[in-house]
């Protein structure tokens, strides 16, 4: 009896997992099928599930119909340089928080965590005004700096957790052998902290690649639009070109999928290292 109950319980758990996964997968199936439809089929009432004709050429034509290459280039610039700047600034800060004693440490750490709470969305007027004062509206540099700044808290927190788990003795041994603090960090700490650095880099890169709100507030020039703004531009008063929305969406997801292997391998370890330290 008990064994049977257990079997029924397991069955329901698996059903739950499949239900959840299907629900998550559903929009991707819809995106894929509808990216291959033509205008007539998309706007058929009631809608069809499968395309009547499979228009694979949608994925080629979209590059001609909108400046998609420019959008991809801009997203890549924001993601690559935003991530680089963010991590380069976060590493020494996280190291200082993990290893050094200095006045105002607790206060600064608290302040840093506070910035995690205030996403750019809740202070968009302030950001708009300040960036206008810096003459950085309509500028990719402005978005890069903002992406780096608003991801500092997360990157420093995660790297601080990673650095704290590395034993001090290795570093001290290197110092005794005549390494400076900087070269000890570069030669000893950074290689050991690689999993944490990879995790932080991946997360910030995804945030940069998927950046939407800041560009929405600050970027007006078509040449400077990121992919998400490009997708948004499809939503018009005369009807949305859904087949293109979904083709671009799938294309935009591809680069991140390439990051997946790295993400899955390091995700669990990297996140827990930070979580334990809290």
């Amino acid at each position: 009896m008990n064994k049977r109950n257990k079997k029924v319980g397991r069955f329901f758990l698996y059903m739950f997992a499949w239900g959840m996964s299907l629900f998550i997968l559903y929009p991707y199936i819809v995106m894929f099928l509808n990216s291959l439809k033509d205008q007539q089929t998309i706007y058929k009432i009631p809608g069809t599930i499968l395309p009547i004709e499979w228009h694979w050429e949608n994925f080629i034509n979209v590059w001609k119909d909108i400046p998609l290459l420019t959008y991809f280039k801009n997203s890549a610039i924001i993601a690559v340089f935003g991530t680089l700047l963010c991590i380069v600034c976060a590493i020494p800060a996280a190291y200082a928080f993990a290893r050094m004693r200095f006045p105002g440490k607790r206060f600064l750490m608290a302040l840093l965590m506070m910035t995690q709470m205030f996403s750019p969305v809740v202070m968009m007027v302030g950001i708009y005004k300040v960036m206008a004062r810096y003459s950085m509206t309509n500028s990719l540099l402005g978005i890069i700096l903002l992406v780096a700044a608003f991801n500092q808290a997360f990157a420093v927190w995660l790297l601080h957790g990673t650095f704290s788990t590395i034993s001090k003795e290795l570093e001290e041994a290197a110092r005794i052998d005549g390494c400076s603090k900087l070269s000890a960090m570069i030669r000893i700490i950074l290689p050991l902290a690689a999993p944490g650095i990879v995790t932080a880099t991946t997360f910030v890169f995804i945030n940069g690649w998927n950046e939407y709100t800041l560009s929405l507030i600050l970027i007006g020039d078509t040449n400077l639009k990121s992919i998400n703004l490009g997708i948004r531009a499809f939503f018009g008063y005369t009807g949305t070109q859904w087949w293109y929305v979904f083709a671009v969406s799938l294309l935009a997801t591809l680069p991140i999928l390439l990051f997946f292997r790295i993400l899955e391998r390091h995700l669990t370890g990297g996140l827990t290292a930070g979580a334990v330290k809290g």
Binding site: P27, P103, M117, M124, G126, K129, A149, Q152, T253, F260
Partner: protein, 302 residues
Amino acid sequence: MKKDKEMKKKEHIRWKDLKAYIWLAPCLILLIAFVLAPVLEVFYLAFSKISAANIVKSFGTLENFQYLFHDRDFPRTMINTVIWTIAIVGISLVLSLIMALILNEEFRGRSFHRVILLLPWATSLLITAAAWKYILDYQYGALNALLIKLGIIDSGINFLGGATSSFIWMIIVGIIVTVPFMAFTLLSGLQSIPKDCYEAAYVDGVNFWNRLFHITLPLLKPSINVTIVLNVIYVFNSFAIVNTITNGAPANKTHTITTYLYYLAFGKNKYGASAALSIISFVILTIFAAVYMKMQMKEENE
């Protein structure tokens, strides 16, 4: 001579202290210029009289807050935001916990589920929201097409017709994008629980529910706490879903604070009122963080 040595020591410490700030400088400069400056600007704007051309006329007025409190859509927006945050975080937490418990077991198809859970990380919220906007469309939407094909309904349902039903659907979309993140955080927490914690329980024949409530959940508590705090902040600050699917329609009844902020600033050109609403959300988030920290400290003391 002795005094001199002491002085030297003191100075030495100070120089060392300064050194840490050299390491911190790049991070601090970024934060001051691009996070702190906008925060201060928000405070300045919120308490200033601002002309129609968005030029600050004078500082030191509560006009913007008065405008908000007399605004017809403000109470609805606040209530929506509370429902939005609690519903998404609460329901997602339960679903994610079950999902994490399942994924912590060895079974066929586990890696498939793990890959599916990673998918939403790769897609921007705008894209997911756009897909759901199409899925839920009254006339040509994919969900109605599916339900008609399956014979569940005869004609399309207007999912996004009313304020209540469209808000519920946006909450469902919010849950779908929140579960993967939560499930992974909780899964990593589950995997850090040592196996021998369960051994004694197995020997004594303790059943599943008792193991869950007396061993797993108490040990998982730190992960659950981190997840709740992070996700309350994320969900409170979420913007793209509502902005894309209804953008407040019908009649500004489905706004949350973030989309209403955007509407005030860039739709209605009310920079002051938008900044005032920013201040209100700062206050809400700070109170939440303070209460939560206090609760946690109390627990640790007990």
